[in-house]
C-alpha cells in the first residue's frame, strides 16, 4: 500500500474523520459568516440602485448564490454517492447523505426568494418560468433522496439506496432542464427575462461572488457537522463513539 492510499484509509476511518471534521467545522462556519456579512454590506449598502428594478434587485445577492449552491450541493452529493457505490467507502456514503438536506435548504431558499422577487417584477408570485420549474423538480429530487434515506432502517443500505437515486437524478437534471426549456418555448407568453445578458456593474458583482464563496464555505461547515453525526450513527456500537456519548453526558450534567 503506497503512502497516499494509506493516508486515505487513515483519514477515511470514522474516528479520525470525526476528529478532523470537528477541527475544521468551526472555521468553515466562522469564515462563512464573516464573508457573508461583508457581502451583505456590499450588496445592501455599497452597491448602487439598479436603474430598471430599483432596490428589488438586491434579492439577487442571496437568490443567485443559493441557486448555484442548490446545483453544487447536488453534484457534491452525486460525486460522493458514486465513490461510495463504486469503492464502497463509508465516509463517502456519510458525506453524500450529509449534503442532501443542505442542498434541499438552498433549493428551498432559491424558490422562495425567486418567488418574492417575482412579485414586484412580474406581478405574480409564481410563473412557470423554465428555471423556476427546473428548480422545483430539483427540490423534489432532493426530497426523494432524503425520504428514501429516512425510510430504510439499516443505515448503510439506506445510504447506498439513496446514493443510487442521487446518481439517477444527476442524469435526470440536464434532461429536465432541456425538456422544460423546450416546453417553455412551446407555451410562449409567460417567459419574462429577469436578467438578460445586460452588463452588471463591478460594484454589484463582487458582493455576489463573495456571497457565493460564503455559502460554499458555510455548506462545507454544515456538511462536516452532519457528517460527524452520520459517523456516530454508523459506528454506534464502537468504543470511540461510546466514549463520546459518555463525555457528552458528563458535560450536560456538569
Amino acid at each position: 500500500m503506497n503512502a497516499l492510499t494509506l493516508w486515505f484509509h487513515k483519514t477515511g476511518s470514522p474516528p479520525t474523520a470525526y476528529r478532523l471534521a470537528g477541527r475544521i467545522m468551526p472555521w468553515c462556519y466562522g469564515l462563512g459568516l464573516v464573508l457573508g456579512l461583508v457581502a451583505l454590506y456590499g450588496g445592501l449598502v455599497l452597491a448602487p440602485r439598479d436603474y430598471q428594478q430599483g432596490d428589488a434587485y438586491r434579492i439577487i445577492f442571496i437568490h443567485v448564490p443559493c441557486a448555484w449552491m442548490s446545483l453544487f450541493a447536488y453534484f457534491f452529493m452525486a460525486a460522493n454517492a458514486f465513490i461510495a457505490l463504486v469503492w464502497r467507502i463509508k465516509l463517502s456514503e456519510v458525506l453524500a447523505m450529509a449534503a442532501a438536506p443542505i442542498g434541499a435548504a438552498f433549493t428551498f431558499i432559491t424558490l422562495v426568494t425567486g418567488s418574492i422577487w417575482g412579485k414586484p417584477m412580474w406581478g405574480t408570485w409564481w410563473t412557470w418560468d423554465a428555471r423556476l420549474t427546473s428548480e422545483l423538480v430539483l427540490l423534489f429530487l432532493y426530497l426523494g433522496v432524503i425520504g428514501l434515506h429516512a425510510a430504510i432502517e439499516d443505515r448503510r443500505q439506506a445510504a447506498r439506496a439513496a446514493g443510487f437515486l442521487a446518481l439517477i437524478g444527476i442524469v435526470n437534471i440536464p434532461i429536465v432542464h432541456f425538456s422544460v426549456n423546450w416546453w417553455n418555448t412551446l407555451h410562449q407568453g409567460s417567459t419574462v427575462r429577469l436578467m438578460g445578458p445586460s452588463k452588471i456593474d463591478a460594484s454589484m458583482i463582487w458582493p455576489l461572488l463573495l456571497m457565493a464563496l460564503a455559502t460554499h464555505v458555510w455548506f462545507f461547515g454544515s456538511v462536516l457537522a452532519r457528517t460527524r453525526i452520520g459517523l456516530l450513527e454508523l459506528d454506534g456500537g464502537k468504543d470511540w463513539v461510546r466514549a463520546i456519548a459518555l463525555d457528552d453526558d458528563k458535560e450536560a450534567h456538569a
Binding site: 428514501l148 443500505q157 439517477i168 435526470n172 434532461i175 432541456f178 425538456s179 423546450w182 416546453w183
Partner: protein, 227 residues
C-alpha cells in the same frame, strides 16, 4: 446442478408472470377504471363546454394514464418480494437485468397496453381534437414503456418497504417530468398546428436508451435493497 439456457429462463418467467396476472384478471381492469374516473372528474370540475375540454384533453389523458401507471407500479415486485421468488431471481445464474427486463415487459403489457387501447375512448370523453386521435395513442405507445422502465428502477429501490406509496410517487415523478413534457407536448404542438415530430423522436431516443440502461439500473437497485 445444471441450469437451463437464459432464453428458457426468460420464457419461463414470462409464462409464469402471465399466468399470475391471468389468475387475478379482475385486478387487471383497475388501472383502466382509475384512469376513467380521473378523466371523468375533469368535466365535473371544469364544466362540460366542449371547447374548453378539447383544449386540455390530451394533457388530461396523459396525466391520468401516468397516474394509473404509478398506482400499478407497486404490483411490479410486491408479490414476488413477499413470497421470496424475487430473491430466487437475484440468486439465479442468469443475468438479472435480462430477467427484470422480461418482468417489466410483462408488466407493461398487462397494465399499460390496455390503457393505450382505451385512450381513444378517454379522449372522446373530453372531445379530443380530430387530428390528435391517432397521435395520442402513438405518443402513449412511446411514453408508457419509458414510464414503466423508469418506474421499475424506483420500485426496485423501495422494494422492501411496507408503506412505500407516497415515497414511490416522490421518487418517480421527477423522472416522469421530461416524459410527460415531450409526450403531452407533442400533442399540444400538433393541436396548435406546429411540427410535432421532434418531441416524438426525443421520446423514441430516450426509450431506446432506457431499454438498454434501465434494466441494468433496476438490477443494481434491486441488489442494493435486497442486500
Amino acid at each position: 446442478m445444471r441450469s437451463g439456457s437464459t432464453a428458457a429462463a426468460c420464457a419461463a418467467l414470462v409464462r409464469r408472470d402471465l399466468t399470475l396476472v391471468w389468475r387475478r384478471r379482475g385486478d387487471a381492469a383497475n388501472p383502466i377504471l382509475f384512469a376513467l374516473i380521473v378523466v371523468a372528474l375533469f368535466p365535473l370540475a371544469l364544466g362540460p363546454e366542449p371547447e374548453q375540454l378539447r383544449r386540455i384533453a390530451a394533457g388530461v389523458v396523459f396525466v391520468a394514464i401516468l397516474l394509473a401507471g404509478l398506482l400499478a407500479l407497486d404490483t411490479l415486485f410486491r408479490s414476488d418480494y413477499e413470497d421470496g421468488s424475487l430473491e430466487q431471481l437475484v440468486l439465479s445464474p442468469h443475468p438479472l437485468s435480462l430477467l427484470l427486463a422480461c418482468k417489466i415487459a410483462v408488466h407493461w403489457f398487462t397494465t399499460a397496453l390496455p390503457l393505450i387501447i382505451v385512450s381513444p375512448l378517454l379522449g372522446e370523453l373530453l372531445h379530443l381534437a380530430e387530428p390528435l386521435r391517432g397521435l395520442l395513442p402513438l405518443a402513449l405507445l412511446l411514453a408508457t414503456p419509458l414510464l414503466s422502465l423508469l418506474g421499475a428502477v424506483c420500485v426496485a429501490l423501495t422494494v422492501g418497504m411496507y408503506r412505500s406509496g407516497m415515497l414511490l410517487a416522490l421518487l418517480v415523478l421527477p423522472l416522469y417530468v421530461p416524459v410527460l413534457i415531450f409526450g403531452a407536448g407533442a400533442c399540444n404542438a400538433a393541436q396548435a398546428g406546429l411540427p410535432f415530430a421532434a418531441p416524438l423522436l426525443w421520446l423514441g431516443a430516450a426509450l431506446v436508451l432506457a431499454l438498454v440502461l434501465a434494466p441494468l439500473a433496476c438490477a443494481a437497485a434491486l441488489r442494493i435493497s435486497l442486500s
